[in-house]
Amino acid sequence: MNCIWGGVDIGQVRPRPKEHPLHEFSVAQSIVETVLKVAEDNAASQVLEVNIDVGEVALVNTEQLAWFIQTLVQGTIADGMKVLWNRVPATIRCMECGYEGGVRYLQEDPKWHFSVPTFECVECNSSQTVITSGRELRIKDISVRFDETGEGEKNHA
């Protein structure tokens, strides 16, 4: 049904799907789905750990994310799985002088919880830089256990 606001038909009001209630939660859900799919495709019987590359300036809270992941895998073959983070440092490329490498940080202020990266060129101070790494959130690999009955047995079910 369409809704009318201020005399204007503004179309259907579509609520946010219930399965995505929070940023970190929907990200965790996507990680868990991928992990379970890869494990099942490889006929693993248990997932022991997941290695995730997380960029230094990716805007996720890893502690909260790990907690959501561990909650979501309960009762699956990944129950009790360890979540390991590999921090990927931020790097930039300067479009003016060609510098490629790490970034500088603002002097840490006690009011802030972490030191804030600046993306100006380390060599020439230009603001014409692009971020080349540090924004990723990438599942690198998973460690799995196969049953002693042999790989592939689980596929028969």
Partner: protein, 217 residues
């Protein structure tokens, strides 16, 4: 004996959103419609700036808006009063719009009859920056009342943007903020930044020019 081994996955979690964002962009381009993603802090004046642009550019451009918020009805009602189609996108407790929600919003608009869609993102300087929606321009709005260190504290969202607007400069002296510092901080990470006041009209022509220029490209 149990056999343990590592299986490579190499899948970026945010990649799915980026792909969907590219699809949205194709849909917009197919219909010759531009989209401006207006992001910024809570209460920075995103809705007011969009309202002003709608009123001033009504004769030149055919516009619509997608209003994203935890409860989108408030902003969408404000925007719809200006006589344009508005799609409210309730995000619930979610802190940003993503490409999937944007897709659904676009489905509800008659794109062939439009030149421009304003996308008002959820008031937040963190989460929206990771989620490309398919927009042609990213505008980040902050106001002096958030404190003049707000820009320096959120470099990532500015780094991904095209234009920064420091709004409510008419009250800067009353809240003890230095808008020039905010502009200087923004320019470290974004190609363009200027001051505005919806109350006095300062800088509004620059904002309207950003909107016009997006549609000319």
């Amino acid at each position: 004996m149990h056999d343990v081994s590592k299986i490579p996955v190499v899948e970026d979690v945010l990649e799915a959103n980026r792909r969907l964002g590219e699809e949205n962009r194709k849909t917009l381009d197919l219909h010759g419609v531009k989209a401006i993603n207006v992001m910024g802090a809570i209460g920075s004046g995103k809705t007011s700036l969009i309202e002003l642009a709608i009123d001033r550019l009504k004769g030149e451009l055919r516009m619509a808006a997608i209003a994203g918020d935890v409860i989108a009805a408030f902003d969408s009602e404000r925007l719809a009063r200006h006589g344009i189609p508005v799609v409210p996108m309730n995000t619930g407790s979610e802190c940003h719009l993503d490409a999937h929600l944007m897709r659904h919003a676009l489905e509800q608009l008659q794109l062939d009859g439009l030149d421009l869609v304003f996308v008002e993102n959820v008031g937040n300087l963190i989460c929206p920056s990771d989620f490309f929606l398919g927009e042609h321009k990213r505008v980040i709005v902050v106001s002096v009342s958030e404190g003049d260190d707000i820009v320096a504290k959120h470099p990532v969202i500015f780094k991904g943007g095209d234009v920064a607007i420091v709004n409510k400069v008419d009250i800067a002296q009353f809240v003890g903020a230095d808008p020039d510092k905010m502009i200087a901080d923004a320019l470290k990470n974004i190609p363009r930044a200027f001051k505005t006041s919806v109350r006095t009209g300062e800088g509004i022509d620059l904002w309207l020019e950003v909107v016009r220029e997006t549609c000319r490209r």
